[in-house]
């Protein structure tokens, strides 16, 4: 046996993870037990009403999510991608944004959409199958959901390059997950953002799982450390700590607005539910792991802190519970009342300017449809649900 071979035999197997979570560099301001802790770089001095506001966001976002999951189980949505467990990562980063900032989401950023003021019903349209999104991205500076993994990080970077050209004091928040960090587009986005010094914050929610593939299948080093190789800072934050996420994202966005270029924020969190309602995580992960993350719940720790410090009373929690139920009812009713698109809507909005082929096919299909005797079902399909 040669020395080289002996050396290889002692090297760790390729599947052995070199690191796990709970590393000391994780920025945390509120422990899972609800204790405020200090961090040398990131302070949290938000007023009590803002803290209650964050708690309200977390609760309402989870309520929307659970209602959507129920709607899917009842056949009203084709699929739903739950954000369960990632509420703090989304609310903390979403609330860090200024009005003129712009978010580019994946398909799971329901909490960010909420913070931007996007009606949850807009999100349901895509999952119900009545449209592919359909909201005006520029109304709330919240781009359409992007399904192809990582593609939106380039759009975010280009948008940030445009902000830079405009001399705007704004920044872009680009969302993606741990699986997306393996995509070429995400790596290209890092490079473009770096060399053009674009005002974009890359916000990676590392929820540990890309459908069935654990983080070890995507990386051999902590994801935030990747930033160094691209020439900008990376920071890992407790993604279940809304105060820490808010502080870290605010600082990164401000840094970008001031012309100091991109930052990679790795929000270390956990996907408590399935990848989507079509997934079955019991086939690939252990219950013990899920149980350990339940102890780090992003909402419970804020409630514990609010209660212990007397920053919120029972009336606040009661009122919020009522509000959550009302919001869920709005989501449910709105979903059930959402009209199916008419068949000829297939031909709408393909092009901005007139396109003869699309128009011709629209006319031919309309003429074909008219050859049928009107029935109740056809009238319903054309006119609504």
């Amino acid at each position: 046996m040669t020395d080289t071979a002996a050396g290889f035999s002692q090297a760790p197997a390729a599947t052995t993870p070199r690191w796990r979570g709970d590393e000391p560099e994780l920025v945390q301001l509120l422990t899972p037990e609800g204790e405020r802790v200090e961090h040398p770089t990131y302070a949290s001095d938000i007023p009590d009403d803002e803290l209650r506001g964050l708690y309200r966001d977390l609760v309402l976002v989870r309520r929307v999510d659970s209602e959507a999951t129920a709607l899917q189980r009842q056949g009203e949505l084709g699929i739903w991608a739950s954000l369960l467990g990632q509420e703090a990562a989304q609310v903390g980063s979403g609330r860090a944004m200024a009005e003129d900032d712009y978010a580019f989401p994946t398909y799971r950023e329901h909490g960010v959409a909420w913070c931007r003021g996007v009606d949850p019903l807009n999100l349901l349209g895509l999952f119900r199958g009545v449209n592919h999104g359909g909201w005006d991205p520029n109304e709330k500076n919240f781009h359409l959901y992007t399904i192809v993994i990582g593609a939106q990080t380039l759009h975010a970077t280009g948008y940030a390059m445009g902000m830079q050209k405009d001399g705007a004091e704004s920044a872009v928040l680009a969302y993606f997950g741990d699986g997306a960090t393996s995509q070429g587009d995400v790596n290209e986005a890092f490079i473009y953002a770096s060399v053009f010094n674009a005002p974009v914050v890359f916000f990676c929610q590392n929820n540990q799982w890309a459908i069935s593939e654990p983080i070890e299948k995507q990386t051999r080093i902590p994801l935030y450390q990747r930033a160094r190789g691209f020439g900008f800072p990376g920071v890992r934050v407790d993604g279940n700590d809304v105060l820490a996420v808010l502080a870290v994202t605010r600082a990164a966005l401000q840094n970008a607005r001031e012309g100091n270029g991109p930052t990679l924020v790795e929000a270390y969190t956990y996907r408590m539910g399935a990848h989507t309602t079509s997934d079955d995580p019991t086939r690939y992960r252990l219950t013990a792991e899920l149980e350990s993350w339940k102890l780090k719940d992003p909402i419970e720790r804020v409630k514990a802190y609010l209660v212990r410090t007397g920053k919120a009373d029972q009336a606040f929690f009661d009122a919020l519970a009522t509000e959550a139920d009302e919001l869920a009812a709005h989501v449910r009713t709105g979903c059930l009342e959402m009209p199916d698109p008419g068949p000829l809507s297939i031909f709408d909005h393909v092009y901005a300017d007139q396109h003869p082929l699309v128009e011709e096919e629209r006319e031919q299909f309309a003429a074909y449809l008219e050859t049928f005797e009107p029935t109740d079902a056809a009238a319903g399909a054309a006119g609504g649900h």
Binding site: W135, H155, G158, G162, D185, E188, V195, D353
Partner: protein, 327 residues
């Protein structure tokens, strides 16, 4: 009148668009100081600055992806893909993102992005530098796909593509970059032929030859040769692959009753197949012969020492015309 090359026509078109609208950007690999590998963007960075003529990192998906973001911010990016065979790394960004985003937003946004692609063979290049991939993009709803064949069209079509609120793939026949023609600069954009119109370049009665991009000159040469044998070929420069100017090509098919489609791209599921199907559906009783195709072969583009065998030439076009006339 000014005599210009096709490359200069694109260059002048870019310059005119950039002068008219400060939101127009040029971006791509080596488009700055070098002026592009074909010198199409020559002098633009010097005059418009690095902020508007952007040398990008060497990553095509990144070029198109960031152009989409810039377009969402209100810019009109013109992206150069250095060679046809290098567009594939950007395929998802073009086909799934650029083409479909407007429909996903129910028309609430537009993406005025132009993707310029030097296309086709005949320059003795190494592999991946001679491809004709228009069918992929013409097959994709949401894109407009055009090809210029001469310096004057290059000048106007570049500006028209930039003015479009839809994404446009603009093919430039790289082996014709140095072809010359006279440009009347007093003509305005409004006086030019519409972007999506086909043009009858030569009238004839015996058969119609439809070509686009680099094959237009070959088709015109074939028509000249045929005339010496007493055959009058009508040559149509298709110019737009999506949408098609069906009115012009149908009129020509009805007039001559015989159609030969010529392109460098492989024949299987190419533009010729679509044109043959469409003309058969619409002009069946006017046709004297099946629509024939003269195309590149259904093989990888060959090494350059045999590319002249692969590329349709004058003789193969005339052979197809003979076959058409034999029906």
């Amino acid at each position: 009148m000014t005599t210009i090359t096709l490359a200069k026509g694109v260059n002048m078109g870019l310059r005119a668009a950039m002068e008219a609208d400060p939101k127009v950007l040029v971006m791509g690999e080596d488009v700055g100081k070098l002026g592009g590998v074909f010198r199409v963007t020559d002098g633009l960075q010097k005059d418009f600055g690095e902020d508007r003529v952007i040398d990008t990192p060497l990553a095509e998906s990144g070029i198109i992806g960031t152009a989409i973001g810039l377009a969402l911010r209100g810019y009109r990016p013109v992206c150069e893909i250095q060679f046809d065979g290098f567009v594939y790394p950007a395929f998802d960004q073009i086909v799934s993102q650029l083409a479909k985003m407007r429909a996903r937003a129910l028309g609430k946004i537009s993406l005025p992005v132009v993707v310029r692609i030097p296309v086709g063979g005949g320059i003795g290049a190494v592999e991946h530098h001679s491809e004709s991939n228009e069918a992929y993009f013409a097959h994709t709803a949401g894109l407009r796909v055009v090809a210029c064949s001469n310096p004057v069209d290059a000048y106007f079509m570049t500006q028209q593509a930039i003015a479009s609120d839809d994404p446009v793939i603009l093919y430039e026949p790289k082996r014709r970059y140095w072809e010359k023609a006279d440009l009347d600069e007093s003509l305005t954009l409004e006086q030019a032929a519409p972007l999506h119109s086909a043009r009858v370049l030569r009238e004839g009665t015996d058969a119609t030859v439809i070509a686009y991009g680099p094959m237009v000159k070959t088709a015109m040469d074939a028509a000249t040769a045929a005339a010496e044998e007493g055959r009058e070929l009508e040559v149509v420069d298709l110019r737009s692959m999506s949408p098609l100017d069906t009115e012009t090509i149908e009129a020509s098919a009805r007039k001559t009753g015989r159609v030969v489609v010529v392109h460098e791209a492989p024949g299987f599921l190419g533009m010729g197949a679509e044109l043959a199907a469409r003309l058969t559906e619409r002009c069946f009783f006017s046709l004297e012969a099946p629509v024939l195709r003269v195309t590149g072969f259904d093989t990888p583009y060959p090494p350059s020492r045999v590319e002249e065998e692969y590329l349709p030439d004058l003789d193969r076009i005339l052979d197809a015309v003979d076959r058409s006339l034999s029906y």
